[in-house]
Structures are given as structure tokens and as C-alpha cells.
């Protein structure tokens, strides 16, 4: 008996000492919840959950990969205890919900018929599933079987439909789906999703720089659910009123209907629902995630800054916007004239964003009124710089400093800011972009007798939106093509009296594919004008680098075009906590690109604030299209006329700044929504039945 006791004493003591020492020596921090959760699992280490042991399962639960019900042999009390532990987590207060990405279902063609299997998982193992579409729903309902809460049902079209009221976000369906088509995500996660190469995406959504789910909102319009359509757009674009008016809609160029017919007027539909909300008299509520306690400074209240601030706020961060101008909006307030985007509309839209709880400080200029060090001292954890591109390029010709010479954005913004502008009788605007058009159309409305647009190439090469060019033609603008200004001629008082230009002819195409204009020797011509505005693109204003006293700001690298150097996929600058987007990152570009950039920067900032590596979106589709989704030919289309944009007659609009373009009436909007094929990656709803041409 004595040896037995001594032996066990020895072994017990040794094991105890070794374990207690090693628990100190090899101590590694882990989320305390893992231990708590593990305590409430069955602890049999049976592996029945598919994880290797209870601690592995507990880790998966805490990491959010598994629901509290992961342990198949756990008691009801155990499951409840685990749920409680996970429930105290602030992140979980934002309930995840299941949602289905594929709405193709049965309309996707089959590549084979196999009746032998009854589960999606099994079907996937046979050549990736029976549908031609590699990413779409298999339709055998593994997710429906997995749902313990009766929240999922197989819809009539062969894809599952989620009952949001019953869904608890347990994630069982997501786990069951072999195609990753049904996903359980919190709103924050959904807001921070980006197009990926394997996505179930229509060509239009792939092309939209803001990545709006276009088919979804159009089908919501079709169903009369205007509120939901607005919310769908707001998942990606907070400036729908503005975009609905000024967006050049690159999406419509990729519209699948456009291959056989006129494309769907996507942007007019966006404007339709956006205006519907504004005119309805009440705002559709926008939800934000619980506060994360992190603070972000957004410098620049233009479209990029507003978008970034909006998304950061919605995912729970605290945001303050700083802007040099008296009011927020940036270039869309000060660069886009009233007749295209009324200030009243813009004010309403921006107010909606600020109402989320975003503070705005205006008339404070970065580098002058505040700097990097003051922001850091105020406790901001990250900075977004969306300072835009406001420095007009100079023509670089003689006489450019004469009285009566102006620069495009400078002139437009001063005018929009309410400054009294000195006007002449005739004006020449140099440039072919949207700012040039904005200048001419504004000047025309101000009563000038003759307004010329002087562009060194032809109409075909003009970068301005086609609708804008057409409108200015209607409004009686004179176009002087193939003209390169050489000199501004002044009178004896130093006032402009003419613009001399050289006639050009088109030569070989240059790098951008546009034919290079070549001057014709001795073709100098003088245009008699008393006002010259040069609107030949802009660059960001880099002066903050010299005026900000913070030494660190010198580390912020700029490109040779003065844009802020950044990783185009994460928009992180050379200073890790500064992110950028919009024109200050890309150079002058579209509003919708700036909005997309703002959201992308918000994602990177969110990663940065959470201490995660700021990495690009995996398999990002940014700037690319999915080749298999781009068709050459679309079967089953009956051409139907596209809705024509209603506008005020020329005679009524030239004497005021009244908004020219009008919103589609409801019946026309519904008819237009009906033209949408509700495309996805490769399937769509044709107008007519057609035999499968294969």
C-alpha cells in the first residue's frame, strides 16, 4: 500500500507541477470567450461536430464560423449558455441575416440531367453542378434542410427565399451551401462587400464604379417596392439623387439589352426612386451598426468624402467631415451648375447623410486651419483625404493673365458660391470636357450673346457626356472644333478682345486611341470674344504639404499629377493611417467613381481600425468584367423603345438656372423597369421564349 501511495503521489505531483509550470511558461493570450464557450460544450471531444475537439469547436463559435448549436450532443442549457456568451458581444448586437445571392434558379440552363442525387452538396461534386452557371444556386435545398428555424423555403423559381422575420442568423444555411450563394452576414458585412470574380453579377453591376446591385433595384421598382429599391441603392451609393442626375452611367453601355436593342435607362430609374423618396415627404430610415468607439476624420466633403463618411458611420465608426468650402458637396456643389443638380436637392441629400450622426466642420482648410498633428491630437484613429482636384491647368499661352481670362472650375465654383461675376458679351471656353460644357451652358443662361466651345479635336473625341453635348447643341452653343488656342489678344486696357487659334487636322491615333490633332501651318484665326475660360482638366491642390507644419505630412507621397499616391486596391496612402479616394486619388473622374472609392476606402479604414491587415479584396473585380458574362448576342429580345428623358423646352430654360432634366413619370418608369432582363452572370429573363440555340 505504501509504494502505491508514494508512486501515485509522485506521478500526481510531477504532472501537477509540469502542467502548472507550463501553463505559466507557455501562456498564450486567447479570447476569454473561447474558454467560456468550451466550458459550455459537452466536452466529450467526440468530434461529432466535425471539429477536432471541443476547444476547436469553441474557437469556431467565437470566431463566428459556427452557431452556438455546433455541439451535436450539447444539452439545451448548454446551447443557451453559449448563445448568451456570444450574445454579450457588441458585434453580435447587429444581427446577421441570411440572404440569397442567386435569383436565377431554374431559369439557368441545365448542362445535364441527373436525377440520382437529392442534395446540392452531392450535385456539386458532379462537374460542379447541373446548371450551366458555375456560381448559381443548385436548387436542391440543402440550405432549407439545414435551417432549424423554418426561415428558408424553396421558392417557385428554384432558389431559396429567406423569411427575414424567422431568420436568426445562425449560419447553418451558409454552411450547408456548397456554392456560397446563401450567405449570413451582418449589415456591416454586406455594406463592405465588393464585386468579386466569382460573383453572381450582371454586366451592369460589374461595370458600375459604385458596384450597385442594379438588377435588384430595378426588379424592386418593377414590383412597386420603391422604398426597397432606394435601400438597395443606398447599400452602395449614398448620393442617389445626385448620381441620378449627373451620372454618365457607364453601366448602360454594358446593358445586355443594349446588344440587341437600346439599353435600359438605368440612371433614370435610379433618379425616379431617388426623387420618389425626396418627394414622399419622409426619409427612409437608415440603420447604423452599434458604436465601435473609433473616430475617423474625413477631409473633404465631396462625393468621395461623403461616401466614405456615410459607410464608416453605417458600420459603427464615428466620423467628422472637414471641408474648406462653406457648404458640403465639393465639386458636385461648386462644379456642377444648378440647372443640372439643384442645390436644394443636394442639400436634402447631404442632410440625410449628416443625420446619421456625422459632424461637419466647414470653411476649415487642411494645412491652414488644421493639420495632421491637430487631427491626431484630437484622437482620430484614421484619416480619409478626399480633397478633390480643384487646380485648373493653365493653357500656357500668351495673354492668359489678361482681364477677362478665367479658369473653368475656379469660375464655376466662384459663381456657385454666389460671387458677383463680371460678364462679357461673347465668350470662348477652351476644352471638351464636362466642365467646359458646364461653363458654356451657364454662360448662355447668364445672357451672353455668343458662346463658343473651342476644342482641339472633333465632336467624336469630346470627353463630355453625350447628353450634355446634345443639350448644349440644342441651346445654341457654337462649336469650334480642331482649334488649338495660341494666344489671347488683349486691347490697350489689358482686357480680352479675342482668342487666336490654329486650325488642326486629325493625324495618327495616339496612345489613348484618339486621333492626334496636327496643326495646319499658317491657319491662325482670331475669334472675337471678350471672355476666355480655359477648362482643360484639373489636378489636386498640393499646397497643404507646404502649409501644414506637421513634419510627418512630408511622408505623404504625391504622384507627378499631384494626386495622392495610393494602393489602387486599398486606397491606403504612403502614411498607413491616411486613406484617399475620389479625384484626389484618381485625378478628375466621375462622381460615381468617387463614391465607389469612398466605400472602398471605408473598407480599408475599417480593417485598419480593427487591427487587421489592410489587404485588397480577394479576387477583386475592380475595373474588370467577367468574360463569360459579356455576350455578343442575346436571344429572345423584342426591341422596345427606351424611355425618353423628359426635359424642359429650350425656350423655357435659357433665361434661368431651372433644372433642365425632369424625372420620368411613374408609368414610364415602370415600363422602363419592365425592359430590364434582370440579368445575372449568365442567365436572364428574355422577352420571349426562344429555343436554346446550342
Amino acid at each position: 500500500m505504501i509504494p502505491a501511495i508514494l508512486l501515485m503521489l509522485g506521478i500526481g505531483a510531477t504532472c501537477g507541477i509540469v502542467l502548472s509550470l507550463s501553463s505559466k511558461i507557455f501562456y498564450v493570450y486567447e479570447d476569454p470567450r473561447i474558454a467560456q464557450v468550451e466550458n459550455n460544450l459537452a466536452g466529450a471531444n467526440c468530434g461529432g461536430c466535425g471539429y477536432a475537439g471541443c476547444s476547436a469547436a469553441a474557437e469556431a463559435v467565437v470566431a463566428g464560423k459556427e452557431p452556438p448549436t455546433v455541439c451535436i450532443i450539447n444539452s439545451k442549457e448548454g446551447v443557451e449558455a453559449v448563445s448568451r456568451i456570444m450574445g454579450v458581444d457588441a458585434g453580435a448586437a447587429e444581427a446577421p441575416l441570411s440572404y440569397n445571392l442567386c435569383e436565377g434558379g431554374n431559369r439557368a440552363e441545365n448542362k445535364y440531367h441527373y436525377m440520382g442525387v437529392s442534395s446540392c452538396k452531392a450535385m456539386t461534386a458532379v462537374f460542379g453542378g447541373h446548371r450551366v452557371c458555375t456560381v448559381g444556386c443548385i436548387g436542391l435545398g440543402d440550405c432549407v434542410k439545414a435551417c432549424q428555424f423554418d426561415a428558408l423555403h424553396m421558392g417557385p423559381d428554384g432558389y431559396p427565399v429567406v423569411d427575414d422575420a424567422k431568420c436568426v442568423g445562425c449560419g447553418a444555411c451558409q454552411k450547408a451551401c456548397p456554392k456560397d450563394i446563401i450567405q449570413v452576414k451582418t449589415l456591416s458585412e454586406k455594406l463592405m462587400e465588393f464585386n468579386q470574380e466569382h460573383g453572381a453579377l450582371a454586366p451592369c453591376s460589374q461595370t458600375c464604379p459604385a458596384e450597385i446591385n442594379i438588377p435588384k433595384y430595378i426588379s424592386e421598382i418593377k414590383a412597386g417596392k420603391y422604398d426597397e429599391a432606394v435601400q438597395t441603392i443606398r447599400m452602395r451609393n449614398p448620393l442617389l439623387l445626385s448620381c441620378g442626375r449627373v451620372c454618365p452611367h457607364p453601366c448602360e453601355d454594358m446593358c445586355r439589352r443594349g446588344i440587341e436593342d437600346e439599353p435600359v435607362s438605368i440612371n433614370q430609374l435610379k433618379r425616379f426612386v431617388a426623387d420618389y423618396e425626396m418627394n414622399s415627404g419622409s426619409r427612409i430610415p437608415i440603420t447604423c451598426a452599434p458604436d465601435t468607439g473609433k473616430k475617423v476624420a474625413v477631409i473633404g466633403g465631396g462625393p468621395a468624402g461623403l461616401s466614405c463618411a456615410y459607410f464608416l458611420r453605417r458600420i459603427g465608426h464615428q466620423v467628422d467631415i472637414f471641408d474648406a468650402m462653406p457648404k458640403l458637396g465639393g465639386i458636385i456643389r461648386y462644379g456642377i451648375p444648378e440647372y443640372r443638380l439643384p442645390k436644394k436637392v443636394l442639400d436634402w441629400e447631404i442632410q440625410g447623410i449628416l443625420d446619421l450622426g456625422i459632424n461637419a466642420f466647414t470653411q476649415v482648410k487642411f494645412g491652414v486651419d488644421f493639420g495632421l498633428s491637430s487631427l491626431i491630437a484630437s484622437g482620430y484613429h484614421a484619416i480619409f483625404m478626399g480633397i478633390g482636384a480643384w487646380n485648373d491647368y493653365a493653357l500656357g499661352i500668351e495673354g492668359e493673365d489678361l482681364d477677362g481670362c478665367y479658369k473653368g472650375i475656379d469660375w464655376l465654383s466662384r459663381f456657385a458660391g454666389g460671387q458677383e461675376m463680371k460678364l462679357g458679351k461673347t465668350a470662348a471656353i477652351v476644352g471638351g470636357g464636362n466642365s467646359a460644357i458646364d461653363c458654356v451652358r451657364t454662360l448662355k443662361r447668364l445672357g451672353l450673346e455668343k458662346v463658343y466651345i473651342v476644342y482641339r479635336r472633333t465632336r467624336n473625341e469630346m470627353p463630355a457626356n453625350e447628353v450634355e453635348i446634345v443639350a448644349s447643341e440644342h441651346e445654341g452653343i457654337d462649336f469650334v472644333f480642331l482649334a488649338a488656342p495660341t494666344r489671347v489678344i488683349g486691347d490697350e486696357n489689358g482686357k480680352v478682345k479675342g482668342l487666336e487659334y490654329l486650325q488642326m487636322e486629325l493625324g495618327e491615333p495616339d496612345a489613348s486611341g484618339r486621333r492626334r490633332p496636327v496643326p495646319i501651318e499658317g491657319s491662325e484665326t482670331v475669334l472675337d470674344v471678350d471672355m476666355v475660360i480655359s477648362a482643360i482638366s484639373q489636378a489636386p491642390d498640393p499646397s497643404f504639404k507646404d502649409t501644414d507644419p506637421t513634419p510627418k505630412i512630408k511622408d505623404l507621397e504625391l504622384t507627378r499629377w499631384n494626386t495622392i499616391d495610393n494602393n489602387p486596391e486599398t486606397l491606403q496612402s504612403s502614411i498607413p493611417y491616411i486613406f484617399t479616394g475620389g479625384d484626389s486619388a484618381t485625378g478628375p473622374s466621375l462622381v460615381v467613381t468617387a463614391i465607389g472609392g469612398g466605400r472602398r476606402a471605408a473598407r480599408s479604414i475599417d480593417l485598419f481600425l480593427k487591427g487587421k491587415p489592410v489587404e485588397p479584396v480577394e479576387n477583386s473585380l475592380q475595373g474588370k468584367n467577367i468574360p463569360e458574362s459579356i455576350f455578343k448576342k442575346v436571344d429572345g429580345i423584342t426591341p422596345i423603345k427606351r424611355a425618353k428623358m423628359p426635359e424642359i423646352p429650350v425656350s423655357e430654360r435659357l433665361d434661368s438656372m431651372i433644372e433642365v432634366d425632369l424625372v420620368l413619370p411613374e408609368d414610364q418608369a415602370l415600363a422602363e423597369a419592365d425592359r430590364c432582363l434582370n440579368c445575372c452572370r449568365i442567365c436572364y429573363n428574355p422577352d420571349t421564349e426562344f429555343p436554346i440555340a446550342k
Binding site: 500500500m1 502505491a4 501511495i5 508514494l6 508512486l7 501515485m8 503521489l9 506521478i11 500526481g12 505531483a13 504532472c15 501537477g16 507541477i17 502542467l19 502548472s20 509550470l21 501553463s23 505559466k24
Partner: protein, 193 residues
């Protein structure tokens, strides 16, 4: 530190108590276990082997020892005055060890009979080694110098059809008995006198 100490103390005390408890149980159950081993395993086999014994081989059992081998021996005087001993040897069958009780005539070195004592063989297959006497009956009358291998291995024993592994296990045990006998016979004879 307090936590570490409590870890060590709790584990140590627990194991020590466990050691003491087990030792106590062991002491209490030991005689009974020995009795059981005899009663259930060996007694029936010995009775079958020495059907006409004039003494009680179980009561008279003794241990013999040579070098590092120790063996429990059951001596018997048969009705015709022949001195015989029985002892157990082990082989490995399909389901684990097989015990074989071997009764040997000390004068002629011939096997009187063998019986399977313990086995964990498959019911209906290997278990026939115990129930079906035609297999173990083969050993009766064989000399301790014979080759106890199965015929498949070049020996003299017919294996049971369908239970080769068990048969081999039994023959292994017989060979083991052979070796024991060879080694310990002088010692056995010495002790019996």
C-alpha cells in the same frame, strides 16, 4: 501563484488517495481473485484431465521455479497409481490469449489430456476449441517430445476447419507447455517427492 499551487496540490492529493484506495481494494480482493482464477479456469480443466484422480490436485498445488520461470503445478495420483502433473501454458489465438491446461504422465512423459481453460475466441468458431473435444482430444496420448505444430505448419495436429488461428493458438500453447515441461521437470519431480 495560488492557482499554480492549488493545481499541484489538488492533483497530487487526488492521485495519492487514488493510489491508496486501489491498494486497499487490491489487498481485499486478492485472495478471492486467486480463488476465482482456480475455480473458473483451472479446476474444470483439471477435473476433466484427471477424471480418476485419487487426490485433490487443486489443494495440493505448488509452485516450481527454475531460473526466471515460475509455474503453478497441480500434482495428482491417478487411480492406477500413476503420478501425473497438470499445468497451464498460453498461446495467442484470434481474440487474445488462450490458456491450455496440459496433464502429463510423469513416468512416460505422455500427455494424458489437454483442455482449453481461457479464451476470448469468436463464439461458434474459435470457441469450439473448448467445447468440441475432438480437437483437443488429438493431444491425448502424444509424447511430450512430439511436434505439436498444426499440419499446416508441418506438425502433427489437425487444425479445426474455419478456425485456423485458434488452432494455431492452441498448438502454440502446447509447444509452450513442452518447453516448460522440459525446463521444469526435474524441479517438479524433486518437489513431489
Amino acid at each position: 501563484m495560488r492557482e499554480m499551487l492549488s493545481m499541484i496540490v489538488v492533483l497530487t492529493v487526488l492521485t495519492a488517495v487514488s493510489g491508496g484506495l486501489l491498494a486497499a481494494v487490491k489487498v481485499k480482493t486478492e485472495p478471492r481473485i486467486e480463488e476465482q482464477v482456480l475455480k473458473f479456469q483451472k479446476a474444470p480443466a483439471i477435473k476433466a484431465i484427471f477424471a480418476d484422480a485419487t487426490n485433490d490436485p487443486i489443494k495440493e498445488r505448488f509452485n516450481v521455479k527454475a531460473e526466471d520461470t515460475e509455474l503453478q503445478v497441480f500434482p495428482s495420483t491417478l487411480a492406477d497409481g500413476i503420478k501425473a502433473v497438470a499445468f497451464e501454458a498460453k498461446g495467442t489465438g484470434f481474440g487474445g490469449p488462450i490458456g491450455l491446461m496440459v496433464g502429463v504422465n510423469l513416468d512416460t512423459d505422455e500427455i494424458i489430456a489437454v483442455r482449453v481453460t481461457t479464451h476470448a475466441e469468436t463464439p461458434g468458431i474459435g470457441s469450439r476449441a473448448k467445447e468440441d473435444l475432438s480437437f483437443v482430444g488429438q493431444f491425448a496420448g502424444m509424447s511430450m517430445a512430439s511436434n505439436f505444430g498444426t499440419k499446416g505448419q508441418g506438425g502433427d495436429i489437425d487444425a479445426m476447419s474455419g478456425a485456423t488461428v485458434t488452432s494455431v493458438g492452441v498448438s502454440q500453447a502446447a509447444v509452450a507447455a513442452q518447453n516448460l515441461y522440459k525446463k521444469l521437470k526435474p524441479e517438479i519431480v524433486k518437489q513431489m517427492n
